[in-house]
Amino acid sequence: MKRLILPIIAGLVLGGIVHLVGVLLMPYVAEQDAYSRLAAIGEINAVAEIDDPSVEGAVLPASDPAFLSAVCLYDLAEGPVKIQVPPTDDYTSISFYTRHGLPFYAINDRSAGRSLIELDLMTAKQRAAMPEDAEVTAADRLVVESPSVEGVVLIRALVRERDAREQVKARLDLARCNGAS
């Protein structure tokens, strides 16, 4: 029995290490993570509609069925990306996530406070390279700094009641996500 003590203790310590490494690596190795689910329906630097959640499930689990959603998978390697979203009458929000699902910025129609929400998404390096005068003319545009080169922009609009669905959808169809050209 005595010779079992060391393997058991060593096994528990090893288990703890395996656990910690597993948890820390999970966002980077999970195969069915949000990005790969969205990559199946969307293209890079373009807006794609996300199907409504249904009895079969949703593209993204645990998404709110009261919202219409669209996604833009961005890639800043070629330059900044410009995002335009016309807010609806109720609640419109734009959320930003890195490639591995870390949320880093969110804005809604009220905090944007304008008739067309315009955002310039760029890396810290691209922002630093922006000419001074561009910074001035960009004063009424919102600059969002992305900690990663790739990521997800989730655009969501509340449908307050079923009748409003088509109207909200027509607004959401006008959302744009364009790479530098």
Binding site: A10, G11, L102
Partner: protein
């Protein structure tokens, strides 16, 4: 050093103990990881009655357990600047929510620009029902005269705010508050007062 004969016995035993170590390590490590990412989003939950929320999971400071659970489920969290989601799988008495029972949600909802209430099965899928209703939004719900709320959940149609549960076994409710200051609470002691959940009658 032992006699040569004892060496011959020792080697297989040693190998066995080594594999035992590896086996314990793998089972404990993977088991712990599975358990901690299976339910909820890590240790930073705040609780209010039967409701649970993970405000930190929707921020840049999300802890590794929240990130692992979200990545594994394939979800993107509701960002805290956007809103906060409260999830309930039991009633206030701790009894699992059963879609075959009549359940009442009553009380006040924390201040928010909008909120939505959604019923799903335990795997997060919407519940099929003839009324085509999977939840309520704050503008469409009917309020009591004193500003409180009553929602009847159950398989049979009821007057007022009725949320069909399609006679499913286990159900899960999610109350999402949008554009709210509630998320600033990061401890259970600061948690807002949430609506009560009572199981009224079971068949």
């Amino acid at each position: 050093m032992g006699a040569p004969s004892s060496h011959r016995i020792d080697r297989p035993v040693r190998a066995l103990l080594f594999f035992l170590t590896l086996a314990i390590g793998a089972v404990v490590g993977l088991g712990l990881t599975w358990m901690t990412t299976m339910r909820g989003y890590g240790p930073t939950a705040i609780r209010a009655g039967a409701w649970e929320a993970w405000p930190k999971a929707g921020t840049e400071d999300a802890d590794p357990y929240a990130r692992a659970a979200l990545a594994r489920a394939g979800e993107l969290p509701l960002e805290l600047a956007d809103g906060i989601a409260f999830v309930a799988a039991t009633d206030d008495a701790g009894k699992p929510l059963d879609g075959r029972c009549d359940i009442r949600l009553s009380g006040t909802v924390p201040q928010a620009r909008f909120w939505t209430l959604t019923a799903t099965d335990e795997r997060g899928r919407l519940i099929d029902n003839a009324a085509q209703r999977s939840g309520f939004t704050s503008p469409e719900v009917v309020w009591n005269r004193d500003g409180t709320l009553d929602v009847a959940l159950g398989p049979r149609a009821r007057p007022g705010n009725w949320l069909p549960t399609g006679a499913r076994g286990r159900i899960v409710l999610t109350l999402r508050l949008y554009d709210t200051s509630v998320g600033l609470a990061s401890r259970t002691s600061d948690a807002p007062s949430m609506p009560r959940l009572t199981t009224e009658r079971c068949p």
